[in-house]
Amino acid sequence: MDITVNILLTIATAATPLLIAAIGELVVERSGVLNLGVEGMMIMGAVGGFGASYLTGSPWIGLLAAIAMGAVFSLLFAVMTLSLATNQVATGLSLTLLGLGLSGMMGTSFVGQPGERLPNIDIPGLTSIPVIGRLLFGQDPIFYISIALTAAVMWFLFKTRTGLTLRSIGDSHTSAHALGIKVIRYRYLAVIFGGACAGLAGGHLSLVYTPQWVENMSAGRGWIALALVVFASWRPWRVLAGAYIFGAVWIGQLHAQAFGIPVPSQFLSSLPYLATVVVLVLISRNKRLTMMNTPASLGQPFVPDR
């Protein structure tokens, strides 16, 4: 029983940064913007979070700094693509390049310094309940944030007027603009929200997952988050499911090895990407589903012609 709980906890830790970054990117893409700079924003969040925690001694301040760092960094993307109407693909890739370089420069003095881990929740009486206690009441704070965030985004996108507006912008910015909606303003907020989430995901890496700073520590997780959004066909609860499936496949593979079962790790690792392609094909085959889920103006620049 204990091993099952431990495995579930490990999966949760592996899935949390993917989930948070993907939820942020989902909102961005729902508004019709494709930001390929997730990896760059994530690593900036990681260095910012670790740096602030290291300098102040408080991982909580680190957490806030990670969010702020991601948000500020995404602002660069927003100004370029939204105000200056640059190509989103090229700008997003440049953002990743810049983030990897900048984080390395900023983090030079943090290398080899142990960080403080954001403490797990501990509620007397509840956390010690067998089996479910640690799962429900004993994880790290960011885990709870990730779940709450998913629920909040779900509610926001599909139950609020503002969410509906945001989605309508993603479907057709020209008609949204014709209706008098401030397309650019919405998109700014969406991109910054996505940046804050990517930053938080990075903070999870350097404050919870492995409390330390090393260059390139995001190790491609930003790209997996991007795949996840598509895999989930832009649905928050599917992002949640997807992140946990990705995490489970990965952790399961390690357990299989430790158990003595040889696994072709490359094939398993490529499954998420192949699955994403299959999902894409499935949803695009069905026109009705496509209409419902895919932000039609994804990646296209918009300049209000007033």
Partner: protein, 376 residues
Amino acid sequence: MMRLELVKRPQRSALFSALSPFIAFALTIIAGAIMFALLGVNPLTAFNIYFIEPISQVWQLHELAIKAAPLILIAVGLSVCYKANIWNIGAEGQFILGGIVGSIIPVLFPQFEGPLVLPLMLLLGMVGGAAYAAIPALLKTRFGTNEILTSLMLVYVAQLFLDWLVRGPWRDPQGHGFPQTIQFGDSAVLPELMPDAGRANWGFVFALVAAVLVWILMSRMLKGFEVRVLGSSPRAGRFAGFGLNRMVFFAFLLSGALAGLAGISEVSGAIGQLQPVISPGYGFTAIIVAFLGRLNPIGIVAAGLVLALTYLGGEAVQSALGISDKVARVFQGMLLFFVLGCDTLIHYRIRLIGLALTKPQDAAKLEAAPKLKEAR
């Protein structure tokens, strides 16, 4: 309260088309100077080492050609896609598949030697890249699947496939367990252009030839016209009788074949065997090169050389001034942002609007006037 506003120019500005790269470069130099000064290095010294030194020696020019060749080759192909408004961002995967398929002969049939080997390898490389690019094209035309996302996903699949190959079935049995294939035989190695002067190989020639051919295609042939029409207005293209699906295949196969050629040229010319990683992200960097070169093949040659120079310059300041290699990446990032930003000036006028001062409606009317005229 100030606000930034873009006003579409009635037509692209010839002035800014010419000026924008220079403005961007000037801005990069200023920002770079500030950065170097912050690092405690005399900016003039740094710039000299960064930009001048790498192109003042013959061997370095060869290195520049080696680094630029794959970037140009891939970017030239991508420019056709992007002109047609088709978004292939999976060139990295097509590059890798080109490298793999092109290596079939030297890895599996090393006893097969002679003058035929190399042309066959190059051909196989192009086939491999094109075939891999055909997947997103097929999915887009058959099911309407978004090609940005499928082509991106396939990059990771290609990387993992190569990883598996060189660790598993294709691993050199005499290689002490290191993940790499056998060294290619002499007839499978792309020859150097001027072995006495430097290491540059035929890959750079392929890049230049590809650039010229694509330039001719785009500016002198009907197909190029078709690409542009379909890119700017699919509806108009359909009226003209151009098939969108055919265009999707054409663009993907062309860019895939060029990326595949780049892949096998790199493997056979510069590396000499397959390794778990054969590209430091050329396929992605080439996207940036394509935009830096404004999707124009000749511009792309220049952009590819400039970007290659930033890599070489980054290494030069690292060894000469002890500045970390991260600086080079930051520098590249800045350059790209400035270039992308300045290119906005070609299509738009930018104005800062003090909200209290101007009434946007009036401005709108003023702007609308010439447009109306145009419409008539």
